[in-house]
Symmetry: C2
Subunit: 326 residues, 2 copies
């Protein structure tokens, strides 16, 4: 059993709420540390176990992540909860390792154009950072998981179409660098469900026992159709942001992250026992509304409510629930 | 070849814009007859060939459909365009047959509770109306198609869960009554993609060569995921409303019909040649905005625009395009 499999057992659904990182990436107003704690505690009480908690970035430019260590401590104190924090370089990785976070997230762009424009480095440089982070992981005591997120994996807002072969090569490079987990990002919402199915199928041949996640955006309305396709192809690690928080960094006004509540509802409709109480989850939006007044919170379930026919029959076996051992 | 197959050839995609009927069902302000003509002409120019055009209902209570005959004439003058109008009883059916409309739509509820509450009649009475309409069709000169829409086929806002067997029996009854087409309606947006796949698979065994359509609502965010599942199961007749017009009759503020532009985008992403120019289609929203000021128009593609990677590769053969012979 790999290290990643103890946190993400095969065939066990893991739904990750990324509002505290991806949802705060571009905002001007952000929650207090206490607000973040209440957000996490309320989501945890609703049954959520996987969180993206922040970035290790210069606090001067990104004050919303200045308290990332406190947030990591909060997640660490919740039995069975797993947190991921993003790093962009060695300095961030060292800080992340010191924080005791469960998972260190790295990013590499699927296209050279986006890599240069967004991170001012080549894709190879980004893979080199992953290799470096993995070496630091191996030398550490608590050995966090290292994940590699492939941004723009289904299409690029700068280069346009992305060849599947390029993404697959990049996945191989990330795995060779030592990544425990690979996640395919539809960063600008270009993907369709058939494309998701095709790339996931090919990628799973490479990742083998290592978890393969998807990070989907709903920019063009297909986010949940894409999530459904990924689930059908065996993906068991999916991201979403409460209230669709975060928007799209490359298209102002447009929708960004898929709505976490709606993602949970989709999974329940597909027969998964997510372990998450959707009404309770929807209620967590009140904390965000209070902490981030004026921020747009979207979502169909929050608006329409659960159907009378809910809960749906559970067709996926109990061993495939979303809960990790606590 | 059945009568329906000449309009809906097997394996040929038909995307029907229902804004002029379902989209106007509950509105207070509605387009002028000239506005409806411009709406139709602009959609036709964008490549749309299938339209729901109105209802045969008392003009006193439903002034938005008072000009249904003129709208039917407009569609009739467009080469290769096909229009459907809704009827609820024999009187409406007689008027519809006289109008020369291409398709007469009838509705039956999947549950006795909704049938009684919504239409003040039993499901059997509704099937009897379909039989009556089919007899009138057989005695008519131009023999329009008769379609049976099963409302609440995936869950009911009054009865809750709906047994698949009940829906399948109802489909059999509608086919025995003589319906040329059956359409499964997720009237209140209760369905999930796996449920869609299951019911469609079972229903197609019954409808055989007769077209099976789906009429999906996006009330709980799964509308396009459900459309994708229906397409995967071979459904080639799908409804949507431009700008998501129409809302949900049973949940104020909630989203109703799936957004037609986004449905077209989904189909293109799945490799279909819809024959529809999406940018041109999005531009038609300006006519609705002008004719129905204050009406909420939603939609992801209208907001975010087509991706740089568009158009997508066509993976479905040319014979499977959306165009009917003109």
């Amino acid at each position: 059993m790999t290290a990643a499999e103890t946190v993400f057992p095969p065939d066990t659904l893991a739904l990750r709420e990324v509002g505290l990182r991806d949802g705060l990436q571009m905002v001007e107003r952000f929650p207090t540390t206490d607000g973040k704690r209440r957000w996490l505690a309320a989501e945890y009480a609703a049954g959520v176990r996987h969180f993206e908690v922040g970035s290790f970035l210069p606090a001067g430019r990104y004050p919303q992540f200045a308290d990332v260590r406190e947030v990591i401590d909060t997640v660490g104190a919740l039995p069975g909860a797993h947190g991921m924090a993003l790093v962009l370089n060695e300095k961030g990785a060292l800080a992340a390792l010191e924080s005791g976070v469960g998972e260190v997230g790295c990013v590499v762009s699927a296209t050279e154009e986006h890599s240069q424009r967004n991170a001012r480095r080549s894709r190879q440089d980004a893979v080199d950072v992953i290799e470096q982070v993995c070496r630091l992981r191996d030398a550490s005591d608590h050995k966090p998981l290292v994940s590699a997120g492939i941004a723009m994996a289904f299409g690029c807002s700068i280069a346009g179409k992305v060849a599947e072969g390029d993404v697959l090569s990049l996945i191989e490079n990330c795995l060779e660098a030592g990544a425990d987990i690979v996640s395919l990002g539809d960063t600008v919402g270009y993907a369709g469900p058939d494309q998701i199915a095709g790339l996931v199928r090919a990628a799973r041949n490479l990742t083998d026992a290592r978890p393969l996640g998807v990070h989907l955006h709903d920019t063009r309305g297909l986010g949940l159709a894409n999530a459904s396709a990924a689930l059908d192809e065996g993906v068991r690690l999916l991201d979403g942001a409460l209230g669709g928080l975060g928007g799209c960094p490359f298209a102002p006004r447009a929708t960004g992250n898929i709505v976490f509540e709606d993602l949970v509802y989709l999974c329940e409709s597909k027969g998964f026992d997510t372990g998450i109480d959707i009404d309770q989850l929807v209620a967590v939006r009140a904390i965000i509304a209070e902490e981030m007044p004026g921020e747009d919170l979207i979502g169909a379930i929050a608006q329409a409510g659960l159907p009378l026919a809910y809960p749906f029959p559970r067709t996926v076996s109990a061993g495939q629930s979303s809960h990790i051992a606590s």
